[in-house]
Point group: C2
Chain length 400, copies 2
């Protein structure tokens, strides 16, 4: 079980976590992974920001203090309820990571130590987000990393399941803030979940889903506040009866860059993307088309909004190498995705998407497809309209 910051935000909520544990600890041996109290890590980050000197080793040391508080408090509450528990920090397990401070990778977990404690105690309460490197320094596995800690521990112990508790009831067919009848999904495949979370469905840390997929570990995303089943994230083989499309998601994190009038010869696109990738800028959707004069081409692609400015500078600085006529950028765009396992083997999914958008007079600026996803780039102002129309068209809502 993993509980996020909002589930351990105060003593009342920590007692609620203890009551959830109380319902299960006689049936299962439990490892409970906790985040810091909601807000605590942000407060520490604000102190760090006042110093304005990036030094990731010290960052990790400061930021990992928050879970020490919550594991101690929960363990106290459990002891009071006569549930035998032991709190453990990352270095006490130990959870060995590499030395990439602020985004460390877990290299090894001392499983035997955890099993030893599980034999002696009802519940092991573990600090998420943190580890220790081989030099004995504290590392963090990045913001939101407690999900990854939980999945790594569950995988290493070959747990029956890993339940991720937060303040949402599961994964939805679309963002409930903009689609009124968005429906909680009962079961979803790892791959679909990955597409969902990469699109900003902030239910799960992406790395944790990848890790669960690799280890074939069943995840459940559920709320610590209601007493209901959440969304199970499983191997696709376990999805017997399955809708073709599971959800519609969107992202406003990207900007569109169009380079016009580049020579239409091999290697130019590669040259452009090499310049960007060398500067750690990832490119997402790409469309290349020949311009009307038949000699030069246009190239359109998207980068993350935060990388837009530096991308523009890099392209301008290298204008002599690339030999383009014009560079235009647009940040007022949104990427809309339809996600579903096996949609490629089912005809008509893409057609329905394009037709639905056309019916709404929404122009498509770029398209990209994968095995389980079709994404289109549109003007940002049409986001709500597009997401709602697609959600209805695929009959994803609870009253369809």
């Amino acid at each position: 079980m993993k509980f996020g910051g909002t589930s351990v935000a105060d003593i009342r909520k920590i007692k609620n976590v203890a009551s959830i544990i109380n319902k299960s600890y006689k049936k299962y041996k439990l490892v409970v992974v906790l985040s810091a109290m909601a807000g605590a890590t942000n407060d520490l980050q604000k102190l760090i920001d006042q110093i304005d000197y990036p030094s990731s080793k010290e960052n990790d040391l400061v930021l990992t203090s928050g879970e020490q508080v919550t594991v101690g408090l929960l363990s106290m509450v459990l002891n009071k309820m006569k549930i035998k528990s032991i709190p453990l920090l990352g270095w006490q397990v130990p959870i060995i990571t590499d030395s990439s401070y602020e985004k460390a990778k877990i290299l090894n977990i001392n499983k035997d130590n955890i099993l030893k404690y599980l034999a002696e105690y009802d519940v092991v309460v573990l600090a998420g987000f943190q580890g220790i490197n081989t030099e004995g320094k504290i590392t963090s596995i990045g913001r939101g990393g407690s999900d990854t800690t939980a999945v790594a521990i569950a995988s290493s112990l070959k747990a029956d399941r890993c339940d991720i508790f937060s303040d949402v009831e599961g994964v939805y067919s679309s963002d409930p803030n903009i689609v009124i009848n968005a429906k909680k999904i009962d079961k979803i495949s790892y791959e679909e979940m990955l597409e969902m979370s990469s699109m900003g469905a902030k239910v799960l840390h992406t790395r944790s889903v990848e890790l669960a997929m690799k280890n074939n570990l069943t995840l459940q995303v559920l709320s610590s506040l209601t007493n209901q089943e959440g969304t199970f994230i499983v191997n696709e083989k376990k999805l017997i009866e399955k809708e073709v499309v599971s959800g519609v998601s969107y992202s406003k994190n990207e900007s569109k860059i169009t380079i016009s009038g580049i020579p239409d010869k091999p290697g130019i696109a590669a040259k452009i993307f090499r310049i960007l990738s060398r500067n750690n800028i990832n490119i997402d959707m790409i469309v290349q088309n020949i311009s009307q004069d038949g000699i030069s081409a246009n190239l359109t692609f998207t980068v993350l909004k935060k990388d837009m400015k530096i991308s523009k500078n890099l392209l301008e600085k290298n204008s002599e190498k690339i030999l383009y006529k014009q560079l235009s950028i647009n940040s007022e765009v949104a990427k809309i995705s339809v996600i579903g396992m096996g949609m490629m083997s089912q005809s008509g999914v893409a057609e329905k998407m394009f037709q639905t958008l056309a019916d709404q007079q929404i122009n498509i600026l770029a398209i990209s497809t994968s095995e389980i996803k079709i994404s289109v780039l549109i003007e940002e102002k049409y986001t709500n309209n597009a997401v709602n129309s697609l959600h209805s068209a695929y009959r994803l809502g609870f009253n369809n």
Copy 2:
């Protein structure tokens, strides 16, 4: 150097600490011991109090998270100033303690590890208050324990000096809140300092003074806000020219208990004190006198105010064993002490104390003496008057 919670209460103050370090680090190799930010430990204690389940192991785990924040932040600031530093937690040194959670004793410090870091870095920044026991669990050495950490580290490294920075400028001849011309003392012996701090002069943790005395380590108590020398606490042999009386202190922490009409025969006092000591109640001032009938005696003694109620209950419950006539208690008392090395070999110190109080019409309820202290118990309402009169009588003020 040790900096208390008020000296690291925010980033501005942490930068001030860094500037103090900046003045010294080229002259000395420095180990800097920090407390948690002022208020941080209290905030954590409030969370613990809401659970209302004393479990000292978890208490220590939660409370020791505060120093992790300050050592990380100070190290960041120092790095920014190009002062090479490394932050260390108790378990990273390690500082090995016994397993008396909440009041652990330091058993061993890995000095070689600290020396290794001192060779590589300009400054080692160390979390105070915390250690680790042989089971690998985090322990704390009690509230205010960072002083003790600093002295233990300095002793183990055979440091030239241990400077304890706080928000006071040193040790005063009396409480400046009630004696207007109380004077900062330049030098004082360990023994005098011990008497001062046991009387409530909250400049230093008592254990830290005992440890410094044992290791003959010179301490300096000074302010992190002014750029001035503080009070040096030294071996008495280093006190060449020395006033007989160094200070006048007071305590309102005690209550007086009088048991009248007890049989005047051997063993009764021992019986009474055994009952109390078995319940961990310490007795301080004791006066026994024969009552007028010549057969029975009266016994007067003081206990800490917090132990008063339980002492009364215990004595009443055991009234048949002790066979007393009457039990009376008084919490409106104050203990006034005159402290000075070698006062016993100097005639007239005690006489001057009694005469001064008599001149003020202040009645003495009990007296106790030691090598370096004379204490009297008086009615609490006379405290200010008594302290000021004595401070003048011994000419301790700065305009005497």
